[in-house]
């Protein structure tokens, strides 16, 4: 039973419930139902036991009472018989066989005592008295069968059962017997039943030779039902027991009724149906079941309420956790101070923490930590959204790409913290002006603005206002920094309708703005795109060219005006593209510089020039252009030394031409390098002087060996007085610093004459010679000496070399260092 309960409990536990509330309710109700069931079972067992035991007790009592009644009746009958048997006259009648007298006496006795049958049995076995023959025969044998000392017996006669009482007629010896026979019939049984406190049923059973059968009443018994009370072996039980009857179970008690022999022929069976015994308890049973049901409903209701009150905060937590999982902010109401209350507090704290962290992460993911502005990702999203709406509503969207000019110089000069601070200030300045747009920092010093739904000329006005804002120095970390910015603008839908295209085009426009001299803004034009494509193609081709050796050097002679002879050549890079033919350096050099390929190309050119120059006469110099990028490359000095040592060229025959741009990103390291090269004996020429900044401070800071006057001054020299004045000033300046001058792009004799008159040291140009191939140079050099240009005035060539070598320290001193 216990095991079975435990198993049920286990099953209950294993059931899967979607809700704590259901689980608790089912658990409590189940437990209560089990308890109630146990109470009910115990109650039922107790009731049955109690009912049975009280009925049994009653049966036992009734049995005893009946025994007594029977005994009393027996003795009363015996007394009556005795009275008759002892009557002198009766004895005389019997002794004399006076039948009439005997019969009248018996009739008188029957009436007086109230017995249906009375007989006199004589010693001869004659039976005197009226009854059926069967009964008379039975009665006639009884006195002889009855053991000494016994006066009554219960016997069967036919199907009937009789109680017989025998009294001897003594005169003074036995001369006969008075015998009473009382049928144990329905009436007798009803009389007995009335004596009992409980409405039991009394039945006489007779033994018909095979088993016990009821002789009275309507009771029907299955075969063997009462064998337990009187077995075939004579065993007999006088305790009440439960038997089966045709009307169901009954509690029964049997009293064997002594016959003339040892074996009873009849039994008195007292029965009480179990159902009747339980009837008084029916109301109790109904009460138990009803109260159990009411209790069950109460427990179901109560446990559901209790479970609800327990589960409600948990359900709230569950819902909140789910909401949190789905990403929304979730708070639960804190109820009570128990574990669940504390859990709610913790949950709220956790939830708040998660939300805060999420916000931070989201902010980090979409914002630039330095400026706090949206980053590229968020910018792309905003641009996407703006474009989507613009397409729907037919609006325009502008993208402005903004890049600081010379930010690297700021970073290098003032340090990164200052650079960062500058970026922050820039962010603020731009944001302050682009209130109608979204400002983002894309990378480094690159910012971008989305202008959705603008009207009229707003992009232009915005760009101009930003550029204007940077005309004044800004104060950053105590430094007054002047920085410019360039802006490229692309407008959707005309300049592209997807974010990438629009941004790319704005970038191209920015590039153009940078190219066009910085501090300006440019709108995107379709040509820009084509140019950019061409640049990308060139860059690709350049790599291949470098690999496949498509470059060559041409050499343009430099004519020494004083010596009146060729004093050297300037090496010029030529690219013979296999399909496009000769590509202009103007076209590919900037690309090479931007892509960094210039470093490798420059290295190749240096080697090639030195190698070739080595074949020339020893008084021929070779001038090689070095790009600022190449020059700033850390390995440049080594490359020069390597080129010299590989070719075996005298360093003094090598002239490196640099432009002012090498000084753009700080002059300190540049000067160091220049001095190191100079120490090797290499000559340094300042190229394209007069364009760009032409800061005189450079001339002061380094003693260049030569200044090359840009062709833009040379070309108009003959007719334009101002140009001539500039050339003269440059030549005079160079002279003051003991520097040579070379005029580029001399194309006619008038220019030559003007230059010569102004004291220019040497010239280059078509007038004298176009750039020559290697073979052309060799041929020219062979011809040198015997043939001189007739238009040129003879100038002693020794003059160039007659001048003593310049001391290294002199220019430095001259520069005031």
């Amino acid at each position: 039973m216990i095991a079975r309960l435990a198993r049920a409990f286990e099953t209950l536990h294993r059931l899967r419930f979607g809700h704590i509330r259901t689980r608790l309710a089912v658990l409590y109700t189940g437990l209560f139902a089990i308890a109630m069931l146990a109470v009910g079972i115990v109650g039922q067992v107790m009731i049955e036991r109690h009912a049975q035991s009280s009925v049994r007790a009653e049966l036992v009592t009734s049995g005893s009472v009946f025994d007594r009644i029977r005994a009393l009746r027996a003795s009363s009958l015996a007394d009556s018989a005795d009275v008759l048997a002892r009557d002198f006259g009766f004895r005389a009648a019997v002794a004399s066989g006076d039948q009439a007298t005997i019969l009248s006496a018996l009739a008188n006795l029957r009436q007086r005592v109230g017995v249906p049958y009375a007989f006199v049995v004589t010693q001869d076995g004659d039976v005197i008295g009226g009854a059926s023959e069967t009964l008379r025969r039975t009665v006639g044998t009884i006195p002889y069968k009855l053991a000494a000392g016994r006066h009554d017996a219960t016997v069967t006669s036919g199907r009937a059962v009789y109680r017989v009482v025998v009294s001897p007629i003594l005169a003074p010896t036995e001369i006969g017997w008075v015998v009473f026979a009382v049928p144990l019939d329905e009436g007798e049984m009803q009389a007995l039943e009335k004596l009992s406190a409980i409405p039991l049923t009394a039945t006489i059973l007779r033994h018909d030779g095979t088993g016990w059968v009821p002789a009275t009443g309507g009771l029907r018994l299955p075969a063997g039902a009462v064998d337990r009370f009187m077995g075939a072996d004579g065993s007999h039980q006088d305790r009440p027991a439960l038997i089966r009857t045709s009307e169901g179970s009954a509690i029964a008690l049997a009293r064997p009724l002594a016959s003339t022999s040892d074996r009873p022929e009849a039994m008195l069976l007292l029965t009480y149906p179990l159902a009747k015994a339980l009837a008084p308890y029916r109301s109790l049973q109904i009460g138990i079941v009803l109260s159990g049901l009411i209790g069950l409903i109460l427990v179901l209701w109560g446990s559901d309420r209790l479970a609800g009150s327990i589960a409600r905060p948990i359900v709230a937590l569950d819902d909140a956790a789910r909401a949190l999982e789905e990403g929304s902010r979730a708070e639960v109401t804190v109820i009570g101070h128990d574990e669940i209350g504390r859990l709610a507090v913790s949950f709220n704290r956790m939830s708040a923490g998660i939300v805060e962290r999420e916000n931070r992460i989201a902010h980090l993911a979409f914002h630039d930590t330095l400026t706090g502005l949206p980053n590229r990702v968020l910018f792309r999203q905003q641009l996407d959204a703006a474009l989507g709406r613009a397409v729907r509503l037919g609006e325009q969207v502008a993208v402005l790409c903004l890049d600081l000019d010379g930010f690297k110089i700021v970073n290098d000069s003032f340090g990164h913290p200052t650079g960062d601070a500058l970026l922050r200030v820039v962010g603020e300045i731009v944001s302050a002006r682009a209130t109608d747009g979204i400002v983002a920092r894309l990378s480094g010093d690159e910012f971008a603005i989305v202008l959705p739904r603008f009207e009229g000329d707003r992009p232009r006005a915005l760009a101009q206002s930003i550029i204007d804002a940077f005309r004044e120095p800004v104060m950053v970390s105590g430094h007054s920094i002047l920085t410019g910015c360039s802006i490229g603008i692309a407008v959707a839908p005309g300049d592209g309708d997807d974010p990438s295209g629009l941004l790319k085009n704005a970038d191209l426009a920015l590039y153009r703005a940078k190219q066009d001299g910085r501090g300006v803004f440019r709108f995107f034009e379709p040509g820009l795109d084509a140019a950019a494509r061409r640049r990308r193609q060139i860059e690709l081709d350049l790599r291949e060219a470098l690999h496949k050796g498509q470059f060559r050097l041409d050499y343009q002679p430099i004519f020494d005006l004083k010596a009146d002879r060729i004093c050297g050549f300037e090496a010029l890079m030529r690219w013979d593209h296999p399909t496009r033919g000769l590509v202009s350096p103007v076209e590919f050099i900037p690309v090479a510089e931007e892509s960094g390929l210039i470093v490798a190309m420059g290295e190749w050119a240096l080697h090639e020039a030195c190698r070739e120059a080595q074949r020339w006469p020893e008084d021929m110099r070779i001038a090689v252009n070095v790009s600022a990028i190449q020059f700033r490359n850390s390995g440049f000095a080594n490359i020069v030394v390597q080129a010299l040592s590989r070719s075996g060229l005298d360093p003094r025959r090598l002239e490196i031409e640099i432009t002012e741009s090498v000084f753009l990103e700080g002059s300190g390291p540049t000067l160091d390098l220049l001095h190191r090269l100079r120490a090797l004996g290499i000559r340094i020429a300042l190229d394209d002087f007069g364009t760009g900044y032409s800061s005189l401070s450079y001339l002061r800071s380094f003693p260049f060996d030569k200044i090359k006057i840009d062709r833009s001054f040379v070309a108009p020299i003959a007719g334009d007085a101002s140009a001539a004045a500039i050339v003269r000033a440059i030549v005079d300046l160079a002279g003051a610093f003991h520097m040579e001058t070379t005029a580029e792009g001399v194309e006619d004799p008038e220019q030559l004459a003007a230059l010569r008159s102004q004291g220019c040291s040497s010239i280059q140009g078509y007038l004298f010679s176009r750039p020559l191939t290697v073979e052309g140079v060799r041929k020219l050099l062979q011809d040198q000496g015997m043939k001189r240009t007739p238009e040129l005035d003879p100038v002693p060539i020794e003059r160039v070399f007659a001048e003593p070598p310049k001391p290294l320290s002199a220019p430095l001193q001259a520069a005031g260092r």
């Binding site: 005389a92 003594l170 005169a171 003074p172 010896t173």
Partner: protein
């Protein structure tokens, strides 16, 4: 007629010299000796003439009982019933050989009844149910009661075939009597086991 036979027996007894003693031991079915049983030998050689027993034909009522309990009386004997008690008795008998009734009589009062037929006469007192007695009326001179050990000795029984009868209330047989043949030749001992 019986008296004639008895007289004839007495004559025969006197006339013949050959006679013996019959000793009878009476036992019950359980082997226990039966006292106060009456043993009778009916012999054809018995002498005729009146029969006399050595005991008086008296049944006293003494201590609310009959003394003796069993009296053997010859046919025709006058048996007296003296009342020795201080109470009255009402002696009666419904037995066939002799029905009589001696209505209430008192102390020292004496009544006499003549028993003229052989047979057993059960006597009782109508006042005192417990009083019971028997008078065995015999027509043979050879009769005796067994003693406490169940033994009876009858002497002077003439030799020859005879019938041995035993009567006792304890014998469960018709008339409480058994009978068997007996050949008397001098002294004879016989054990009778009653049914």
């Amino acid at each position: 007629m019986l008296r004639t036979i008895a007289l004839l027996g007495g004559f025969l007894l006197a006339g013949t010299a050959a006679a013996g003693t019959v000793t009878v031991q009476v036992r019950g079915a359980n082997g226990a000796p039966i006292a106060d049983a009456v043993v009778m030998v009916v012999s054809p050689h018995a002498p005729a003439g009146p029969i006399h027993f050595p005991w008086p034909n008296v049944v006293k009522q003494q201590n609310i009982s009959f003394q003796p309990h069993v009296l053997i009386a010859p046919v025709g004997a006058d048996v007296t019933f003296p009342n020795m008690d201080n109470v009255r008795h009402h002696v009666y008998s419904f037995s066939k050989p002799k029905k009589f009734e001696l209505k209430l009589y008192g102390h020292e009062d004496k009544r006499t009844v003549t028993f003229d037929k052989p047979g057993v006469v059960a006597i009782g007192c109508n006042i005192h149910d417990q009083m019971s007695g028997f008078i065995v009326v015999v027509d043979t001179p050879y009769a005796a009661k067994t003693d406490a050990s169940g033994r009876a000795v009858i002497s002077n029984v003439p030799d020859g075939a005879a019938t041995l009868k035993v009567w006792s209330p304890a014998i469960r047989a018709p008339d409480n009597q058994t009978a068997q043949s007996l050949n008397v030749a001098g002294s004879v001992s016989q054990v009778v086991t009653t049914p």
